[in-house]
C-alpha cells in the first residue's frame, strides 16, 4: 500500500535538448537516493532499448520512484518521469507532462538554449508546470553559467536567478537538485475518496507480463484485482498486478492519488491501450474523463517492401511484433507494380519512421526498400468528395481533382549567426514563410512555417550540413493549406515506377524531376539495353536522361571444365537479381531507390 501523503510526493520530468545531460542527471538522482545498488548501476538506466541507448533518444516514457530523506526530516517520494525526447512524439510528451507538476529544465551551460529546449519548455509551461532551471556541465571550462542564465531569462522568460548549477557527470551539487525539487515543486492534488481516475501515460509490451501500463493516479485508488475500465473505448480489464518502478518493478497492493506506477491486466497488445486515456473503476466509474485525450494519427507515410520477395511474411510478422509495443505506427498491406508485396506504414514523424525501419532491419534482420516518405494530403475532388492521400501512387487523375491541401508545420530553428544566411535560403527554397527572427547572443532563432512535404525530403540532412551540425530544429504541426501540388512520376524504360513517384509543388517540379533523373542515371548501372529515364507530370515529360547500354561483357575463355563453374556463377547472378528490382527488361538496384529519395541540391 502506498499511503504517502500527497504533501510528501513530487512528480517531475526533465526537459533537455539532446545531449544536454538528461539521462546522466537521471542516473545521478537514482544513485544519490540509493534506488539502485552501486553494483547494479549502469549508465543511462532509463534508456532501455538498445536503439535508445545508442541514439540517446527516449522512445517510451518511463518512471522511477525515488525516496529522498530531505533536510526537514521527512522522506519524500520523488517520481521522475522520463519523457520521450523527440518532436515526433509531441503528443506522448504532453501526456507525460500532464502526469507531473513540475520540470527540471536542464541546459548545457557550455551550449545554452537550443530549439528542442524551447519547444519542450513551452509545452511544460502549457502543462502548468513549475520549472526549475538546472545548468549542467559546469565542470567544463567552456561553461558560461551567467550567460546561459541570461539567455534563459531572455529567450524563455523564466527567472533563472535560482538556477541550480551542477555537473551531472561528476555528481557536483546533485543534492541541490533534490532539495529544489522538494522545496520548489508543488505537491500533487487529488481526492483519495473520489472514484478512480488514472491517466494512461504510456504502455509497452513485456514478453512475460504482457502489456504493462504506466499510470498516474489522480483520484481514488488503483488496486490489484480491481475491475478497471478504459474510458475512451470502454474496455474492462482486471488488474493483475500494480506497483512502482524503483526502477525495478516492485508490486504494491494499491496506488493512491499523486502516485505514478504500473499495472498489468492481461492485455495482449498496446494497440488496446491509448496514451492519454483515463482508467476508472468499472463499478464506481468517474463521470468525466481526464482532459486532453486524442488518438494518435500518423503524419508521414511510406511503403516498406522486402528486398527479397520471400521475406514478405517475415515482414508482416515483424511489423505485428513491433506494433505490439508501438501502437502509434500503422501499417496495411499494399502492392506496388515496382516493388511487389509490401506495406504502407504511417508514422508520427520522420524520426519515428527511421526508428521503425532501423528496428526492422536490426531486430528482425530484414532488408527493406522504403519508398519516398509522403505526408497526408487532403484531396477535394470535382464531385465534392474529400479523400486523404497517403501514397502518391494513389493520386486520382488530375481532371478529377478540384484542389489539394497539404499539412504545414511551424519550425523553430536555432543557429549560430554565421550560418543563418544559408539556413534562411534553405527555408525560403522550401517554400518557408518567416514568422519570426530574433537573436539570442550570437545565435539566431528563426521561426518558419513550412510545408511538411518540403521537410520530409532531406530537410534535416541539408540543415545539418549547411550549419556544420550547429543548427537545432524542432517543429509542431500547423494545419492544412491549399497548395499547387503535382504528382511527379518516374518512368524507367517508359514504364512508370510507382515506388519512385512523389508529390511536389509545381514551382519545384521541374528541378526535382531533373535532379532525380540525373541521380538515377548515376545509380542505375549500365545494362544490356539502353534505358531512358523520364520524369513526368501526367503525360507531360519534364526531364529525361538516358543510360546507354553496356558495351562489352563476355567471358573470354570458356571451355570444358568451366561449364559447372559458369552455371553456378550464372545461378548466383540470377540470385543476385532477386536483390534488384526488375522493370521490364531493366533492373534497378536497391541502392538507387534509397539514394533517389535523398536529394542534395
Amino acid at each position: 500500500m502506498t499511503d504517502t501523503p500527497l504533501s510528501q510526493i513530487r512528480n517531475f520530468s526533465i526537459i533537455a535538448h539532446i545531449d544536454h545531460g538528461k539521462s546522466t542527471l537521471a542516473d545521478r538522482l537514482i544513485q544519490a537516493t540509493g534506488a539502485v545498488a552501486a553494483r547494479e548501476m549502469k549508465e543511462q538506466l532509463l534508456d532501455n532499448m538498445e536503439l535508445e541507448r545508442e541514439r540517446g533518444i527516449t522512445i517510451k516514457a518511463q518512471t522511477v520512484r525515488l525516496a529522498y530523506p530531505a533536510k526537514d526530516g521527512k522522506t519524500y517520494v520523488l517520481n521522475l518521469m522520463d519523457t520521450p525526447g523527440h518532436v515526433d512524439f509531441a503528443y506522448e510528451v504532453s501526456r507525460s507532462l500532464a502526469a507531473c507538476e513540475g520540470s527540471l529544465l536542464v541546459v548545457d551551460a557550455s551550449q545554452g538554449v537550443e530549439a528542442q529546449t524551447l519547444a519542450n519548455v513551452y509545452q511544460a509551461i502549457d502543462a502548468g508546470h513549475e520549472i526549475v532551471p538546472v545548468l549542467n556541465k559546469i565542470d567544463l571550462p567552456a561553461a558560461e553559467p551567467d550567460r546561459v542564465k541570461q539567455q534563459i531569462e531572455d529567450v524563455i522568460g523564466l527567472d533563472a536567478s535560482d538556477a541550480v548549477e551542477i555537473s551531472a557527470k561528476t555528481g557536483l551539487n546533485i543534492e541541490g537538485v533534490l532539495d529544489a525539487l522538494v522545496a520548489r515543486l508543488p505537491p500533487p492534488k487529488g481526492n483519495p475518496d473520489a472514484p478512480l481516475k488514472a491517466l494512461l501515460v504510456d504502455s509497452w509490451y513485456d514478453q512475460y507480463l504482457g502489456v504493462v501500463i504506466l499510470v498516474r493516479v489522480k483520484d481514488g485508488h488503483l488496486r490489484k484485482g480491481q475491475r478497471i475500465r478504459m474510458m475512451a473505448k470502454g474496455q474492462v480489464h482486471t488488474v493483475e498486478q500494480c506497483g512502482v518502478f524503483t526502477p525495478k518493478m516492485v508490486a504494491m497492493d494499491s496506488l493512491g492519488p499523486g502516485e505514478m506506477g504500473y499495472i498489468t491486466a492481461a492485455i495482449k497488445t498496446v494497440a488496446d491501450t491509448n496514451v492519454g486515456d483515463t482508467l476508472t473503476d468499472d463499478r464506481h466509474p468517474a463521470t468525466e474523463a481526464l482532459p486532453g485525450f486524442k488518438p494518435s494519427i500518423p503524419v508521414v507515410w511510406c511503403g516498406l517492401y522486402p528486398v527479397d520477395a520471400d521475406d514478405f511474411e517475415k515482414l508482416r510478422e515483424s511489423l505485428a511484433k513491433l506494433r505490439l509495443n508501438d501502437a502509434s505506427f500503422h501499417y496495411e498491406a499494399e502492392t506496388s507494380a515496382a516493388l511487389g508485396f509490401g506495406f504502407r506504414c504511417g508514422f508520427l514523424g520522420l524520426l519515428h519512421l527511421e526508428i521503425v525501419q532501423e528496428r526492422l532491419s536490426r531486430e528482425f534482420d530484414l532488408d527493406l526498400i522504403a519508398t519516398a516518405p509522403s505526408v497526408v494530403y487532403k484531396i477535394r475532388k470535382t464531385n465534392g468528395e474529400l479523400t486523404e492521400l497517403h501514397n502518391p501512387a494513389d493520386m486520382p487523375d488530375g481532371s478529377l481533382i478540384d484542389s489539394i491541401e497539404e499539412p504545414w508545420i511551424k519550425a523553430t530553428i536555432m543557429v549560430p549567426d554565421e550560418y543563418l544566411g544559408a539556413v534562411l535560403t534553405l527555408c525560403n527554397d522550401r517554400r518557408g514563410q518567416q514568422v519570426e527572427l530574433t537573436y539570442v547572443g550570437n545565435r539566431a532563432m528563426a521561426v518558419y512555417r513550412l510545408p511538411l512535404n518540403e521537410v520530409v525530403f532531406d530537410f534535416y540532412d541539408r540543415l545539418k550540413s549547411i550549419s556544420r551540425g550547429y543548427a537545432s530544429f524542432d517543429y509542431a504541426m500547423d494545419g492544412y493549406e491549399e497548395g499547387d501540388l503535382v504528382k511527379i512520376s518516374l518512368l524507367v524504360n517508359a514504364e512508370p515506377v510507382d515506388a519512385l513517384s512523389f508529390m511536389a509543388h509545381r514551382s519545384a517540379a521541374e528541378k526535382r524531376g531533373r535532379q532525380i533523373c540525373e541521380k538515377l542515371k548515376e545509380l542505375i548501372p549500365r545494362q544490356l539495353f539502353k534505358i531512358p529515364i523520364q520524369a513526368a507530370i501526367g503525360g507531360r515529360v519534364i526531364a529525361r536522361e538516358t543510360i546507354s547500354a553496356l558495351s562489352k561483357d563476355v567471358t573470354a575463355k570458356c571451355y570444358g571444365g568451366d561449364i559447372s563453374r559458369k552455371r553456378k556463377l550464372l545461378e548466383k547472378q540470377k540470385e543476385g537479381k532477386k536483390r534488384m528490382r526488375q522493370f521490364g527488361k531493366v533492373e534497378i538496384p536497391q541502392s538507387a531507390f534509397i539514394a533517389a529519395l535523398k536529394m542534395d541540391a
Binding site: 544490356l528 561483357d553 563476355v554 567471358t555 561449364i563 559447372s564 559458369k566 545461378e571 540470377k574 521490364g584
Partner: protein, 460 residues
C-alpha cells in the same frame, strides 16, 4: 511474345505444359516413352530407356540445318565422345593463369602415365565402345609430357573406342625451344593438331605476361609446327594494359600471316586468386575500359576476316572446316570424358546426364587413381533445368547458335521453356539474338559481345 518466335517455337509454347512435366519426370524416374521432342522440321524423336537413350527418325539427321562446317549430331548417346586429358604441370606459373597447373621440381612421368591410362580404362569401361570424336591434351603444359605418355594414351583410346581414321588429336604446347624440340616425337605419337601458347608477338608484352619464351622463339616454334602438323592454331592474349588499337591490329596481322587456319584470341581476364588479381586490385595496372575493349574486339574480327578467318565462337577464329572439333563438342554440349587432375566430364548414361569432377591436386589425384582406379570426387546427375542452362550458356557462344531440337534432346526442356519470354523478345528486338532461317537461335555479334549480361536475364 508470340511475334518474337518463329512459327515452330509457337508450337512449342502451345504444347508446353504437358511437355514440361514429362521432361521433368524424365530426370528422376525410369520410363519408356517420355515425350515428344518437336522440332522446327515437324518431326518427332522419342526417348527410350535401356542404354540406348535417344532415338530419332533418320529424317532429322538428314534435314537439320547447319551453319558450321563441322556438323553437330543430334543423338546424345550415339554421337561421338570427346576425350580430354589434363596434364597439370608447368615450368612456371603465369601471373594471369588460373588453370589447374602446378610447378614441380621433378615429375614421376611413368607413374602419371600409368595413372592416366588407368583412369582412361576406367571411364571407357563405363562408357562402352562409343565413337570417339577427338582427343585433347590440355593443361597445364602437356608439351612437358613425355611423348610416350601421349603415345600410350592415344593408342589406348583408339583401342577402347570407335575411332575414325581422321581422329582429331590436339596438344597444347608452349613455344619454348625445349618443347619445340619434342614436337616431332608428339607427331609420331599420333598428335595431328597443335595449339601453341604464343600469347603475344611483342617482347614487352611477353615479359608482362610472365612468359618464358621470346617472340622469336614463338615464331620458330610455329614454323617448326607447320612443317610437322596438318593443323595448327595458336593463342594470343590482347586488351592488355595500355594496348592501343593500332598496335594490336599490327600484331594481329603479323600473327594472321603466320597461322594457317585457326586462332584463339583472348582478351586478358583478371582471374581471382592470380598474381594479376592482386596487382590489379592494388592498382599496379589497369585494363582497357569496356568501350575500348569492345573496339579492340571489333578490330580483331575485322583483321581476322581479311585473312578469311571467321569468329565461330566468342574468342575463336577459323577458316570454315578448320574449327576445333574437340572444343565444338563442349560448346554444343556434347558428351566428353575428362581424365587427369581436376578434369571435368559430361556424359549421358542411362538417360542421366552426369557431371563428374576429379581431384585437382596432382599428387592426391595420383594416389587415388593408384588406390582406386580413378580420382572422381563428385558425380552428379544434372537436373533438366541445369542441363538447359549449360547447353545454352555454351551454345550461345557459338556463331551458329543453338538448335532448339538439340537443346530439348540434351536437356529435356523445350527451348521456349528455358528462356524468359520477355527477355527473349527484348533481345531479339535489340538485335542481340536472332532466329536463323533454319530455326536456330543465335547470338549476333553484338549479342555475343554482351553474353555475360544477357545470360542471367535470358535463361530461366
Amino acid at each position: 511474345m508470340k511475334t518474337a518466335l518463329p512459327a515452330a517455337c509457337i508450337a512449342f509454347a502451345s504444347s508446353a505444359p504437358m511437355r514440361g512435366t514429362a521432361a521433368l519426370a524424365a530426370a528422376s524416374i525410369s520410363f519408356t516413352v517420355v515425350g515428344m521432342v518437336g522440332s522446327s522440321l515437324g518431326v518427332a524423336a522419342i526417348w527410350h530407356r535401356a542404354g540406348r537413350a535417344w532415338q530419332a527418325p533418320a529424317a532429322i539427321r538428314a534435314g537439320l540445318p547447319r551453319t558450321c562446317a563441322v556438323p553437330a549430331p543430334i543423338y546424345p548417346a550415339m554421337e561421338p565422345l570427346a576425350l580430354y586429358i589434363h596434364w597439370p604441370f608447368c615450368q612456371a606459373k603465369c601471373p594471369y593463369c588460373d588453370f589447374n597447373s602446378h610447378v614441380r621440381e621433378r615429375i614421376e612421368q611413368p607413374r602419371f602415365r600409368a595413372a592416366l591410362r588407368r583412369e582412361l580404362a576406367f571411364e571407357a569401361e563405363r562408357a562402352g565402345r562409343r565413337p570417339l570424336a577427338s582427343i585433347f591434351f590440355g593443361g597445364g603444359t602437356p608439351s612437358l609430357m613425355e611423348p610416350e605418355t601421349a603415345a600410350a594414351l592415344i593408342e589406348d583410346a583408339r583401342a577402347l573406342f570407335e575411332a575414325p581414321a581422321d581422329l582429331e588429336v590436339t596438344l597444347e604446347a608452349n613455344p619454348t625451344s625445349v618443347e619445340a624440340g619434342k614436337l616431332a616425337a608428339f607427331r609420331d605419337a599420333g598428335v595431328n593438331r597443335v595449339s601453341l601458347g604464343v600469347q603475344s608477338l611483342e617482347e614487352e608484352a611477353l615479359r608482362f605476361l610472365g612468359r618464358r619464351h621470346s617472340a622469336a622463339q614463338a615464331v620458330a616454334a610455329l614454323e617448326m609446327a607447320r612443317g610437322l602438323f596438318p593443323r595448327i592454331s595458336f593463342d594470343l592474349i590482347y586488351a592488355r594494359p595500355g594496348q592501343a588499337e593500332a598496335a594490336w591490329r599490327a600484331e594481329l596481322r603479323q600473327a594472321l600471316a603466320l597461322v594457317a587456319d585457326h586462332l584463339s584470341l583472348y582478351q586478358l581476364t583478371i582471374e581471382p586468386g592470380t598474381r594479376f588479381a592482386t596487382e590489379h586490385a592494388r592498382g599496379a595496372f589497369a585494363l582497357p575500359e569496356p568501350e575500348e575493349a569492345a573496339r579492340l574486339y571489333a578490330a580483331t574480327a575485322e583483321e581476322a576476316a581479311r585473312f578469311g578467318l571467321a569468329p565461330y565462337e566468342v574468342s575463336n577464329y577459323a577458316r570454315p572446316g578448320a574449327e576445333s572439333r574437340h572444343n565444338l563438342v563442349y560448346w554444343r554440349y556434347g558428351d566428353y570424358l575428362g581424365i587427369g587432375p581436376g578434369a571435368h566430364q559430361r556424359v549421358m548414361r542411362d538417360g542421366a546426364l552426369l557431371a563428374i569432377r576429379r581431384h585437382r591436386a596432382p599428387e592426391e589425384w595420383l594416389a587415388r587413381v593408384e588406390r582406386e582406379g580413378h580420382a572422381i570426387t563428385a558425380e552428379e546427375s544434372l537436373a533438366p533445368a541445369d542441363r538447359a542452362r549449360e547447353a545454352l550458356l555454351m551454345g550461345l557462344r557459338l556463331a551458329e547458335g543453338v538448335d532448339p531440337a538439340r537443346i530439348e534432346a540434351r536437356s529435356g526442356v523445350a527451348l521456349a521453356e528455358a528462356l524468359e519470354p520477355a527477355m527473349l523478345a527484348a533481345c531479339l528486338e535489340e538485335g542481340y539474338l536472332e532466329w536463323t532461317a533454319a530455326g536456330w537461335l543465335r547470338a549476333t555479334g553484338e549479342g555475343r559481345l554482351r553474353l555475360d549480361a544477357m545470360l542471367p536475364v535470358l535463361l530461366r
